[in-house]
Amino acid sequence: MHAVRLTVNGTERQARVMPRLLLADLLREEFGLTGTHLGCEHGACGACTVLVDGEPVRSCLLFAVQADGCRVDTVEGLAGADGALHPLQEAFRARHALQCGFCTPGMLMTLTAYLREHSSPTESDIREILSGNLCRCTGYQNIVQAGLDAAAALRAAGAPR
């Protein structure tokens, strides 16, 4: 067993883990953060996407020990402390960019990282960056629109969150 220490959504967390424990299982089972979903469990669907030191990663392909000492951000940390939805979450809601919601956390985390560095994406840019996140119910039209809306909202609000 290995001791790991991570900053998850701004809070320092520690655990003792098997070397092979996946980051996704650490988040979901040890820390109770079940907003990170496991779909395909082999890196194809993107549902388990979280940010490690700001970069989107597949938490089903990363061992927990690899994230030792890192900052990890999950969907649970997107909304404000007061519960106010992030502009990206607002845009998803307004655009009906989700049905069952299973792929949504991965979509949100991928777009969060992208919009931080790309304030004025085109539709084609959004489709490209979401090409690694599969949705099995809504189709992608509204998700892409929500991404564009969120970019506009973040630009209007000044610095992207």
């Binding site: 079940t34 990170t36 969907v75 997107l78 979450q89 998803f92 809601r93 989700l98 919601g101």
Partner: protein, 155 residues
């Protein structure tokens, strides 16, 4: 009452958008066990033997279950509702002596964790006798030259 043509925000979206939804995989109950499924690598095969002895000895494994262990729980359930124009087929949850497609579930390993269950799955010995399989739809068209449903009249 007016709904058609109006936009409505869904009540469930805030929790789904903030990671507070609850899906089956999120449910954790006291004493809950985990299963890993053994699946057929063959499109069509007779299942000669399912031997879970080695897997059962693996620490943390509670049981290995194949069709013969199911008893009354193994009774078939319909996959399509009865309909005069459709030929239905009843499935049992584990393959009953014959695997009819790649990926059909042949056995389940039940253990104290998903990791343990998947480890032990590698220890389940299944002996198959591969049978001819249709690789396109053509052998199944009239005149049918191949079927895997022995109860059908034109089998």
């Amino acid at each position: 009452m007016k709904f058609v043509g109006d936009r409505y925000l869904r009540k469930e979206d805030p929790r789904l958008l903030t990671g507070r939804g609850q899906y089956v995989g999120d449910i954790a109950l006291p004493g809950m066990l985990h299963a890993a499924l053994v699946r057929s690598p063959h499109a069509h095969a007779r299942i000669v033997r399912v031997d879970g002895a080695r897997a059962r000895e693996h620490p943390g494994v509670v049981d290995v279950v194949s069709f013969l262990d199911l008893g009354s729980a193994g009774r078939p359930f319909p996959i399509v509702p009865p309909h005069p124009e459709l030929r239905g087929h009843n499935f049992s949850m584990l393959a009953d002596g014959r695997a009819r497609f790649v990926g059909e579930v042949v056995a389940a390993v039940v253990a104290d964790s998903r990791y343990t269950a998947e480890d032990a799955r590698e220890l389940v010995d299944v002996e198959y006798e591969p049978l001819p399989s249709a690789q396109t739809h053509v052998p199944g068209l009239p005149p049918c030259t191949m079927t895997c449903r022995t109860t059908w009249p034109d089998a």
